[in-house]
Symmetry: C2
Subunit: 446 residues, 2 copies
């Protein structure tokens, strides 16, 4: 993309309404614009990252054997009355009447809808196990929306639901989700620690939240620092392998790691003194096993193969996709702007032409642009007729992890500058070598 | 995908509520399930096609130089009061109050929102031309929603908005959209004829609708049959080339083609007798140029480079993405089910194992499945332990354009059967040649 033809409204001033860094940078980098309280328009750069996150979530869910579908945002109140949650949900549920006076609501979550699809179409244990999920906009009418997309009212969420014959099978689904979530976050450049959580209004005994450590997190967290040394890495996962998924789950959850809601000081006391950590964390996902809490009232039963009808064992599993943008920025930035991890960056590399209009600089920049594009990557080429300072400022703010700077002196000597946004380190390289490096960096990522 | 692990609830009975074939087949093929009147859940197969259509629209919009972003579904009433449309929009607009009593609405379209983004961030002619678009769920509270996704209340729409300095530039944007829409429909296997239309509540002098001919169409259409001979084909389009886009527009719109709303019998009388056609059509898109209708009341002005401030010239351009599923099925089916065009089929080929459990059939089917998957295509492998009749019925109903049938006698002789869903013609081929054929068919499509 040529910046002269893109829509990237980078703000010069610091937005006063932003209390945390991710909110401020998303506004400044021209990623979002507030439409009304807690509701955002996703400007092109923000939408591009959002779409990348969405695709990563889809890929990892499908890899785990989960099946994508899509529920409507607006739902009839009837199903929620059947499950008993309509009256109890409170003011966070946005309710409305349609032109015929029927009670509708904007889905804050979708246990009822998925259970209804299940009970309408599945009647035999032979069709199990089954995990269905969606990535869809939700609405929760927070009293005081704040922190930009971190605590918005309209937000994009992946929510998945497993349907199993037995508790044992459902716990495998639970573990499978835990493993797939760990993979998902790592691909986004995030370390999200699973922590024992409180099940809250969804109910159930088994639940873990995934927390990204960040000073601006809403939760206080207590953990054994050894937990941050465990990585998924490139391990080969067979999501049908019950023992393997169980082992990964245990590996990642056996060390002490809890939020303030479930913290047990006596347990924490047993953590080796040098490993004790107290910090703040941002919740970016949660998994639940809740058994027959919804299948019983909604009549989601199957023939168990032995002449009986049994309610299925369920769980639900969520990732806050739009919130992840905020979490990634909180975890990865400096005082000049965002620093995107390679897996989620909106453009793979910035090309900064230091002297637009100079024939040699233009030609060298165009050539690099064409070659990187031909390699299947997306460069952002700053071809604007702007001062170098403005161009550097834009690149630093929007946070592309790599930058190729094309200047008149370098071009004369046959070199350009390849700079890492994260370390700030630069190297003078021939354009060909710089391009090769970029291609190499994104091998297996882009 | 193995069918035994997919969620494809094909209905045996004919759903009584469906009045038209696309609605009936989408229900029967397990693509959608009605959630409430005019609101559908997209089951996995339906979602898969929807996502493909969405991707084609994105690709063609980006190719034309248009920039994707995303607006929230819920909007504050304030902007709509500013443009003067809030009170006039009528009962199709779904209105609600949030917990603080503020007036909100579910976006039925987004002229106001895009104009607001524009006026907030653009102030100079130097940033023009600019076309922004989104693909987002909309809601229009139809009195009598019907025909499944063809006239639903919650629907997925691509809506784009161009911002230009002059009327001339805006008319180039108009032509560019017309050309990109023609490409889009052709990739979906649809012939959509641009027809002079009525501008309705959006206003403006220039507008074309795109209509797909189908007996169940809601509009009566009158046209010169020669218009159906014109194709975009593989022509090389430069979307910056004003003359080329103008020429394509003229080529596609100079022959008589109108809906009942704009039909002029005296003009139609001049069409050569042998070419006169009256038929029915389904509207799948519309483009508008409406000048300064929104930019003036909303103050979307730019510095014109000569010291003046002028309101920008705008147009809006829509494609009904979810409705397109219905239109494609109306245009492409037979009495056994759907027939997907190759460009939009949910799976590229079905593999039908005639005797699941037979070692030779299983091994041959698995091998074909693995090789087609390795070629980057998505087969749907019917590995269920079902009767052959059931398997053929499912494949015919869900309409994959190609099927490979693996039977015990053929396997013994080293052949499988490759069948075209459209023609019903079958060929006995070695598995290797059948796979090569499939790969060849999808070259440049998948």
């Amino acid at each position: 993309m040529r910046l002269s033809r893109y829509f990237l409204p980078v703000l010069k001033e610091t937005p006063r309404e932003a209390q945390i860094i991710s909110h401020r940078y998303m506004l400044q980098a021209g990623m979002i614009k507030q439409a009304s309280a807690g509701i955002y328009s996703w400007l092109p750069l923000g939408f591009k990252v959002l779409r990348k996150l969405e695709n990563i979530v889809h890929e990892e869910q499908v890899r785990a054997g989960h099946i994508p579908m899509l529920m409507p945002t607006l739902q009839s109140a009837d199903l929620w009355r059947e499950s008993g949650r309509y009256d109890g949900y409170g003011e966070e549920m946005l309710r409305m009447k349609d032109r015929h006076g029927r009670d509708m609501l904007f889905s804050p979550t979708a246990e009822e809808m998925f259970t209804d699809v299940f009970r309408s179409h599945v009647s035999s244990y032979k069709d199990l196990p089954l995990t269905l999920y969606q990535i869809q906009w939700k609405f929760r009418d927070e009293v005081r929306p704040r922190f930009g997309v971190m605590r918005g009212r309209e937000f994009l969420m992946k929510d998945g639901y497993n349907f199993d014959l037995t508790k044992e099978d459902a716990l495998h689904a639970y573990n499978r989700h835990l493993v797939s979530y760990l993979r998902t976050y790592e691909r986004m450049g995030l370390q999200a620690i699973p922590m024992r959580a409180d099940s809250g209004p969804i109910g159930g005994d088994y639940t873990h939240e995934f927390l990204v450590l960040a000073d601006t997190g809403e939760s206080e967290v207590f953990y054994d620092s050894a937990v941050t040394d465990i990585k998924m890495g490139q391990r080969d996962i067979d999501f049908d392998d019950v023992a393997q998924c169980q082992a990964v789950m245990e590996e990642f959850t056996s060390l002490y790691a809890r939020t303030d809601e479930t913290h047990v000081p006596d347990e924490f006391a047993k953590v080796p003194e040098a490993n004790k950590r107290t910090a703040r964390g941002i919740e970016v996902g949660q998994i639940f096993y809740f058994g027959t809490t919804y299948s019983e009232p909604l009549g989601a039963v199957v023939d168990d193969g032995r002449g009986g009808q049994v309610p299925v064992h369920m769980g639900s599993h969520g990732i806050g996709v739009s919130r992840l943008l905020g979490a990634i920025i909180e975890a990865s930035h400096d005082d000049k702007g965002i620093i995107w991890p390679e897996g989620v960056t909106p453009f793979h590399v910035g090309i900064l032409n230091m002297r637009t209009g100079d024939d040699a600089c233009d030609a060298a920049s165009e050539d690099i642009y064409a070659k990187i594009t031909a390699a299947g990557l997306e460069p952002l080429y700053d071809d604007r007729d702007e001062r170098a300072g403005t161009k550097f400022g834009t690149m630093d703010m929007i946070g592309l992890p790599w930058r190729i700077t094309v200047g008149p002196r370098g071009v004369k000597n046959g070199v350009v500058e390849l700079t890492s946004r994260r370390t700030g380190e630069s190297e003078e390289l021939s354009p060909e070598v710089a391009i090769e490096r970029i291609v190499e960096i994104y091998k297996g990522i882009a």
